[in-house]
């Protein structure tokens, strides 16, 4: 390990690997830190297809996708540590951060001119989604169950109830069924499925798995292991309706109730958090409110596609490159991206006319035949539909950004 790097990348999943590759290609000296025992992150345990359609123009499994990225990373001979943790990122000065890193060789203090934080997300657990009851064996998050089954080859249970119908929940329902378990039900709080329609079709309908919409698992019961869950209907305000309880026998509960950006290390460094994304507030270089700390992937915003995660990794590395080259970012004037009608979240939060930018956003409500409008810059895009489960990705050119004074509103408007 050197004593100083141009960029230290935290996280060896798709965002971190992409950032390290790009930074190395741009000529920076790079160190990557991964806390698991292997590089690759979550796609390494995603044996299903649906990865790389944009980035590689091919439909790959998660494992194939990340293999290609790892091959590139290896070819560039980037310095990295696995089984290593970053304990602390200290914003020592505008141009220097000090990182305290634990590896198998001991504790190190290393300086970095920039940091790309790409530590991904954590899964929401049962207490965050209002499930009460016994704390027995047989309750897993989707990611834990996936690691057990698809890396270590151990089935988490025989009769499974899945909480949450996002793409993760749906895909896990299919995986469990194919591997011989019985998925008794998928329980969804909202009145519509959280994931893509095609996943409802090919993961649930293909196997006759019941989907309970507008329902919540309110209680887990069992002595040593899960024996049943209590499922309750919810009203329009998502409150359980007394008297509608129903019991489903099962030995396993899998929670696929969403992800939250995992920010522990950089939160302590003082980055500002957006309550909508629960990730950091960033500018169009994906720099956080702490100069020189960049963020990418699911640590920035929960993405639908690994393709976007990789794109953000590369973007953050280019931001780090500009920072290293100029001793800070070149942009001086920031325009605030303002969330207008039916925009629930949008990143980056501040835009500059020094570069083109890709905006990632989600709507609050599903709508059909709409226009995505940026009134201050006179840009409009027609969309056949918008859905909360599908991220909107749109590019703004720097000339367009330059037309706005201090704010750029993004809104969804209905066709008259």
């Amino acid at each position: 390990m050197r004593s100083e790097y141009d960029v230290i990348v935290i996280g060896g999943g798709p965002a971190g690997l992409a950032a390290a590759i790009k930074a190395k290609e741009l000529g920076l000296n790079v160190l990557l830190i991964e806390n698991r025992e292997f590089l690759g992150g979550i796609p390494l345990q995603c044996v299903h297809p649906g990865f790389g359609i944009h980035y590689f123009k091919e439909d790959l499994t998660g494992t194939e996708f990340i293999h290609r990225i790892i091959e590139r990373f290896r070819a560039l001979d980037v310095e990295y540590y696995t089984n290593a943790h970053v304990l602390e990122v200290v914003p020592y000065s505008y141009r220097h951060k000090i990182l305290r890193i634990v590896t198998e060789e001991g504790l190190f203090e290393v300086a970095a001119r920039t940091v790309v934080y790409a530590a991904g997300a954590r899964e929401r657990h049962m207490f965050e989604i209002g499930i009460t009851g016994h704390r027995v064996a047989g309750i897993y998050t989707a990611g834990e169950a996936q690691t057990m089954m698809d890396i270590y080859g151990v089935m988490p249970g025989k009769e499974i109830v899945i909480v949450g119908s996002g793409d993760v929940g749906l895909i896990m329902a299919r995986r469990f069924t194919l591997e011989g378990a019985k998925v008794k039900a998928v329980i969804e709080l909202m009145p519509y499925p959280g994931g893509l329609t095609r996943n409802v079709v090919q993961c649930l309908e293909d196997f006759g798995i019941p989907l309970y919409l507008s329902h919540a698992v309110t209680r887990v019961e069992g002595k040593k292991r899960v024996e049943r869950v209590i499922v309750t209907k919810v009203d329009e305000k998502l409150r359980p309706i007394p008297g509608t309880e129903e019991s489903i026998e099962c030995d396993t509960v899998v929670l696929a109730a969403g992800l939250v950006p995992y920010l522990k290390v950089i939160e302590k460094a003082g980055v500002e958090i957006d309550p909508a994304t629960r990730g950091p507030v960033v500018n169009s270089y994906l720099e956080t409110s702490v100069p020189g700390i960049f963020v990418a992937g699911n640590a920035l915003v929960i993405n639908d596609l690994v393709d976007y995660v990789v794109e953000q990794g590369e973007e953050a590395a280019m931001g780090a490159y500009e920072f290293v080259k100029n001793g800070g970012l070149p942009a001086l004037k920031w325009r605030k991206l303002v969330k207008g009608r039916n925009i629930r979240l949008a990143v980056p939060h501040y835009l500059a006319d020094t570069k083109d930018v890709t905006i990632y956003a989600r709507v609050g409500e599903p709508e059909e035949n709409v226009r995505l409008r940026f009134p201050e810059i006179g840009k409009e895009i027609r969309l056949p539909f918008v859905r909360p489960s599908e991220m909107i990705r749109v590019k703004l050119k720097k000339e367009e950004i330059a037309r706005a004074k201090d704010r750029i509103t993004m809104e969804v408007v209905r066709d008259e």
Partner: protein
């Protein structure tokens, strides 16, 4: 004149999830509507005639970095054969090292599809 039947399908080729309606007169497909690209039309016809899917799973590995290797069928296989293919894969055990793309089972159950590795081991 044979009976006219209509089937409504959700295309699973891409995230758009178009609703495609297939009209059949007896055994003949006489109309396909609602698709927004040629792949959607092909999917709907295939889905009516003989539904097919890519199969993915993991198989056991001896002496590898991980106890399993991820695999998939290199082309879609008939949906009705999937349970039998899964049963077959549960019995397969391979020796490490395994590289991505390596054929694990050739021409699985006579489908013409190979089971290939999608992760190193």
């Amino acid at each position: 004149m044979s009976e006219i039947k209509k089937f409504r399908l959700t295309c699973i080729v891409c995230p758009l999830g178009c609703t495609v309606e297939v009209t059949m007169e007896g055994d003949r497909i006489t109309g396909v509507e609602g698709f927004t690209c040629p792949r959607g039309k092909d999917y709907a016809i295939q889905e009516i005639r003989e539904p097919k899917r890519i199969v993915m799973s993991v198989v056991k590995v001896r002496g590898g970095r991980f106890p399993t290797v991820a695999v998939k069928s290199d082309r879609p296989v008939p949906k009705e054969l999937i349970p039998a293919i899964m049963k077959k894969l549960a019995e397969v055990e391979v020796e490490a090292p395994v590289s991505v793309g390596q054929v694990i089972v050739e021409n699985v159950l006579g489908t013409g599809a190979n089971i290939v590795a999608t992760r190193e081991a």
